[in-house]
Symmetry: C2
């Protein structure tokens, strides 16, 4: 029998909690027998939601947490003070080895801080990157780092490349993933001090499939499977992707209402259009893993619906079965 994958789910995190978080957890339990979920949050609230569903009770536990960390709270303070919050309790379940992973749609800052402070880094990992999956016209890419710590060092970017490659290959299933360094030109000598120093380090790294610099223009076209950059740039890439898609789609919809002719046409094209745009939405994919920790921490969108929570929970199976952290340990230790 396969080993169980124990996942702590922050039932109180995100705009649609606890309704969608509980629903997503139940769906994950019902979809895969290897999943056991610990729903963490205010117990009576969670119990009330759970009444709506039927599921294998042996694989869904409720863990009471009396406090909730709000998105606006300063993360370091919140993690330190709210010991009985759903996020801190999820983190402790992973730290204590009761859970393999945790999934939260709550405060990004608190998840990033809690991951580092409570769950802790794998020995040798300088900085754990937040690595969202982003859509491109051919499929998906992993973009790292999109975390809160900007101004990274070259050695950290090399670690991002290694950890991203392991994740993309073993969890997402992309063989020999192409690693690109996000830069302002494709030539080796282009860029800022950070990219110029990082380029040769990546080139001389035998464990990854480095394909060189990738310009931002080519990201949406799918130029690389693993996109490496420091967090300020990663944030700009991610948010431009979301912002431009959103603005353009709004503009197109507005344009289609312009004339009777286009209105009739819009009725005919809408199903195809919706399908296309769905594939290009950043919210259609599972959450973003925070890599390099002693356990898997997955941050999903604040606006997550049940489907994203469910996908993020199921993602933890491959993470455990493929022994991602052992592989990361190997790659990082090899370097030192």
């Amino acid at each position: 029998m396969a080993e169980m994958v124990n996942v702590a789910v922050d039932a109180m995190g995100g705009d649609n909690a606890p309704m969608e978080t509980v629903k997503g957890a139940v769906e994950a339990v019902n979809e895969d027998k290897r999943i056991r979920v610990f729903l963490v949050g205010i117990e009576p609230v969670i119990r009330e939601e759970l009444k709506k569903y039927s599921y294998d009770e042996a694989r869904l536990e409720v863990v009471h947490a009396s406090e909730v960390i709000e998105t606006a709270e300063p993360p370091v303070m919140a993690i330190r003070r709210k010991k009985d919050s759903s996020i801190v309790k999820c983190m402790n379940l992973v730290k204590d080895g009761e859970c393999d992973a945790l999934v939260s749609a709550g405060s990004t800052g608190a998840v990033l801080v809690g991951g580092q402070v409570i769950v802790g880094r794998i020995k040798g990992v300088e900085r754990p990157p937040l690595a969202p999956i982003i859509p491109n016209v051919k499929g998906i890419s992993l973009l790292l780092d999109c975390g809160a710590n900007v101004d990274a060092r070259p050695s950290q970017l090399v670690q991002f490349a290694k950890m991203g490659s392991v994740y993309m290959e073993s969890v997402i299933g992309v063989k020999n993933p192409r690693v690109g360094l996000v830069n302002i030109g494709v030539e080796e000598e282009k860029g800022n001090a950070l990219t110029k120093e990082t380029y040769p380090l990546l080139q001389n790294c035998p464990e990854i499939n480095f394909i060189g610099n990738v310009e931002a223009r080519d990201i949406a076209a799918g130029a690389a499977d693993v996109l490496v950059c420091e967090a300020f740039v990663g944030n700009v890439v991610l948010k431009m992707l979301e912002g431009v898609s959103g603005a353009l789609v709004g503009k197109i919809k507005e344009g289609l209402r312009e004339s009777l002719r286009s209105k009739i046409g819009a009725l005919l094209v809408m199903p195809a259009l919706k399908k296309t745009l769905k594939g290009f939405s950043t919210e259609e994919y599972g959450g973003a893993p925070l890599l390099g920790l002693n356990g898997l921490v997955v941050k999903t969108h604040g606006s997550s619906k049940a489907i994203e929570i469910k996908n993020s929970i199921l993602q933890c199976i491959a993470f455990k079965e493929q022994k991602i952290n052992d592989k990361i340990r190997e790659k990082i230790v090899l370097e030192d």
Copy 2:
């Protein structure tokens, strides 16, 4: 009578030279009597193109330049060695005061280097930013810096904000333009060392209308009229905008061909769709000015067609008549 605006046009620069550059120059001369163009490049080639058109010969001169700088050439070397290239000759026409401005679709690097080395900076300007106009759903914004010099200092970003405000107000006609600092969060304390240091400087700058940090997500929605950032970030913003629009449009067109129903609908919506997308294309606007030089240097897309060349030439009228450089001098001197 209004004073003439003398514009040097690099006839040999860009993918569509000399056909589109010559055509754009002729169209500008025919559209506005204040324009006099100096078409710079290989004379017999230009003369041959000019045969296709009729125009006021008193306002269109051909200046022979025997050399052409290719896009792939290292810019500093090219500017130094190819003294008889069309770009260098255009630069010299501006430097010597024979022309007020120059327009080139040629090598970006050579234009940036030539602008600084030959045309020269306005006294007090630390770094001349390349400032493309980018579309948003409500209109347009000016994004600066998108040049080749990355790792800017806070004081340079403040100058970008001032110069960008002058350009946006006096050339583009946006009253009291809203200046935003491109950042990874809206709160003052967010960002990297550069944005954290720059924020209070912008806030304490009485000559601009600073509205705070702008997240990349909100750029396409039109959150600010003048977007200030260092060149690496500017480059990522600009190219994400181009890349995501391009990829999404391609994906939508592909999606519309999926079924008979959507194919019929596509025929009906295409005119409206094309109109919408045209307004969101970065190529629909004039070229990007390199601000803070002793004269106006405008870089247009390498793929420029006649319309972009023409618009870029016409843009020089407002630049001269509104005395942009006097205004920049005032603002920069005020600071010192």
